[in-house]
């Protein structure tokens, strides 16, 4: 919304050292810096007293020069989506007189009703005009809630909103449609917010972030047109995972959810998703060199619950990889390697012989469940003979010098073709589905030279788009949400980035 009102978003807080009471920093249309502190709910005197220290910092402390190089005093804003009590407004007025010594620009309070009217003002230009897109928007809003997020449908909606398939557009227009997409995402996920469905929120925001990279890559946009929106999406995704982590830490139901009669089928998948997402969050902070206070909790969670996780198909690989990388960081190398070997063993056991095989990464956990429990009777797809993730897992084990393990499995490995979908252009990487690209199948070498394998595994992140190479921390989130893009390139990128950290 701020971007649509002509402000340039410069900084979005991830609660780091630069924050000093400022959640968002922008440059206003008049080129004066603005700092926002965001709260939720109604604010009365007790809340005001609790936040007073942060608000003092918001007003008095100048914005770090690492964020904005300006000698001007910033305009401070205190924003809530609820109401601000009369007493609090009086306190703000009084405090403004005191703060004037440090900052001549007074603190302005923004309440929920003002936010609503500003959103409504923006509606005219943000809502899709075509009937189909509008109907998709409504259906997405209605259908999202407690279940997995419908990434395929949401991606279709984003493609129409962002005008990805149309003729070339100017960077300014592309920037506008990106802002639109971010705002519409926030509408679409409101039921997920209400239900506290953090996993769905995480996936939704990563999909939007990915489509922003698609736009940036396709139209070769300067960072100023999209970076703020991208950072906002990443922040929303990370906050969703933070909330998930917090919920796990306070969980009193042994991670059981809903109807006990049916939860047994889904509990192991839930544990895999939790292990993977919490690990990914920890890896994200590490790759950003940020301190994060819940790292030990994640380690404890993995130590206790990874045994309950279930590998449902190849779309579980990124979750297991994230968990393994996190365990490695805590020195549990043997445990980490066992996870990867188990994953490889499952692929080989099911895909090198007869039968239906191990579902490919295009099938999410629920789709796999439906497929293998007879709830998708008209789907006759079989998966034997090939694997999208096997080669990446082999390389991961080679980088850890597990030669004997790989030698043990090599005979079976040669019976499974390495499969990889190569999008035609970089920007297509960030789309959920594309027709522009080529599906490649390779036969593993027989025999395979260990030294050649080792050398290859130490190579660079081949074919990974530059926008992803420059953002390994986002790649960790991306691989969970887009498991069909996970492969040798992404695995090398993440492994090498973590080694550097």
């Amino acid at each position: 919304m701020l971007a649509s009102e002509g402000e340039t978003v410069l900084y979005i807080s991830s609660h780091g050292a630069l924050e000093q009471g400022k959640d968002i920093v922008t440059l206003g249309p008049e080129k004066v810096p603005r700092a926002y502190q965001l709260k939720s709910g109604n604010l009365k005197l007790p809340e005001w007293q609790r936040f007073k220290g942060e608000i003092d910092e918001l007003v008095e402390l100048p914005i770090s020069t690492a964020i904005v190089r300006s000698r001007q005093h910033h305009r401070p804003y205190f924003v809530t989506n609820g109401r601000i009590g009369e007493t609090v407004l009086n306190r703000i007025e009084t405090a403004n007189k005191v703060w004037r010594r440090h900052n001549p620009r007074a603190l302005q309070a923004v309440q929920g009703h003002e936010l609503v009217s500003r959103f409504i003002k923006a509606h005219g230009s943000f809502l899709p005009r075509e009937t189909e897109a509008f109907s998709n928007l409504l259906e997405l809003i209605v259908n999202s809630g407690a279940g997995p997020f419908d990434k395929a449908r949401f991606s279709e909606f984003l493609e129409s909103t962002l005008r990805l398939s149309g003729a070339s557009i100017t960077p300014r227009d592309a920037g506008r449609s990106i802002t639109n997409a971010v705002l519409l995402t926030s509408y679409i996920v409101q039921n997920c917010e209400r239900a506290g469905n953090h996993w769905a929120l995480f996936e939704a925001w990563v999909v939007t972030a990915s489509y922003i990279l698609a736009m940036a890559s396709k139209y070769r946009m300067a960072a100023k047109w999209w970076n703020g929106s991208f950072a906002l999406c990443c922040l929303a995704a990370v906050r969703a995972l933070d909330a998930l982590c917090q919920e796990c830490a306070g969980n009193q139901t042994a991670f059981i959810q809903g109807d006990p009669l049916t939860d047994g089928d889904f509990y192991p998948m839930r544990m895999t998703i939790l292990a993977g997402t919490l690990s990914a969050l920890s890896l994200y902070h590490r790759l950003k060199s940020e301190k994060w206070e819940r790292q030990d909790y994640v380690h404890d969670f993995l130590s206790e619950h990874i045994k309950d996780a279930k590998i449902w198909g190849e779309s579980a690989t990124p979750y297991m990889v994230a968990a393994a990388l996190e365990l490695e960081h805590h020195g549990a190398h043997r445990h980490a390697e066992r996870l990867i070997v188990q994953m490889m063993h499952s692929i080989l056991a099911l895909n090198s012989q007869k039968g239906r095989g191990f579902a490919n990464p295009y099938y999410g956990p629920e789709q796999v469940f439906r497929l293998f429990s007879g709830m998708d009777p008209m789907n006759s797809e079989v998966f034997i003979g090939h694997s999208y993730h096997l080669e990446a897992l082999i390389e991961m084990l080679a980088r850890r010098l597990l030669r004997t393990t790989l030698a043990h499995f090599w005979e079976k490995i040669t019976r499974v073709h390495f499969t990889w979908f190569k999008p035609a252009e970089d920007w297509q990487w960030f789309r959920w589905h594309t027709y522009d690209g080529i599906l490649e199948q390779k036969t593993p070498n027989a025999p395979q030279s260990w030294s050649a394998l080792l050398e290859a595994s130490e190579g660079g992140p081949i074919e990974v788009p530059a926008l992803l190479r420059d953002r390994p921390e986002f790649a960790v989130l991306f691989m969970l949400v887009f498991p069909h893009r996970f492969g040798v390139g992404l695995m090398r990128l993440i492994d090498h980035a973590l080694q550097r950290v």
Binding site: N360, Y362, M378, S380, E381, V382, I384, G385, H386, R403, L406, A407, W410, E411, T414, R415, H417, F421, K422, P423, H433, T434, Y435, D436, G437, I438, L439, E440, Q441, K442, T443, A446, P447, Q448, S449, W450, S451, L453, H484
Partner: protein
């Protein structure tokens, strides 16, 4: 518009198309024997063909469209239920299976030409010499437990019947059967060599 029932009709249509798919698999020998692969993205694909000398050939290919005309007359539509509809769908499946098989034969022919395993009989009836030559030229797989030859012969039903009759005669020819055994023994050794290469080395 006229009164209609789109939701149920969509579901029914999906079921009928699934029936056609299953019928095609039943009728197309390649769909039945070959390994199926569903491509979720892209319009092209590559795969590697391992040639006789262990060289690899990357084959790039695109999808080929199979079309089959279906005609519906207004007068027939009300009666197009039950057996009448199944008959129409079976005809559709038969035509698709035929086209699929033709496509598969063409691809197989190209691949065997590249691999040097193609033998042209010149349209003449199969002879012992030709059979031995074809056995010699192809790569043979064996069951690792029983040691039995794996794989199938694909032929037109008329040709298959003729081959069956011929084989009963050929089996009585000791020289021919000895030649077959020698080829199989050689092929078994080659297969063992190939299998023993499935390993990680220095």
């Amino acid at each position: 518009m006229l009164p209609d029932f789109p939701l149920s009709r969509r579901e029914l249509r999906e079921r009928l198309l699934y029936y056609v798919k299953m019928q095609v698999q039943e009728r197309s020998v390649f769909a039945k024997l070959g390994r199926q692969f569903t491509q979720h993205e892209g319009r092209a694909f590559t795969y590697e063909q391992i040639l006789d000398d262990q060289e690899r050939r990357t084959v790039e290919s695109r999808f080929e469209e199979i079309r089959t005309p279906v005609e519906f007359r207004y007068a027939d539509v009300p009666k197009l239920v039950g057996d009448a509809r199944m008959e129409k769908l079976n005809g559709l499946a038969e035509d698709i299976a035929r086209q699929q098989s033709a496509l598969a034969y063409r691809v197989l022919d190209e691949a065997s030409q590249h691999a040097g395993t193609a033998i042209d009989g010149g349209g003449k009836p199969m002879t012992k010499e030709l059979f031995l030559k074809s056995e010699e030229s192809r790569e043979t797989e064996f069951d690792p437990v029983t040691g039995k030859v794996q794989g199938v012969y694909i032929a037109h039903p008329d040709m298959a019947a003729a081959m069956h009759r011929m084989w009963q005669e050929w089996e009585k020819d000791k020289v021919f059967m000895k030649a077959i055994d020698e080829i199989r023994a050689r092929k078994y050794e080659e297969w063992r060599d190939r299998e023993s290469r499935r390993k990680l080395v220095d």
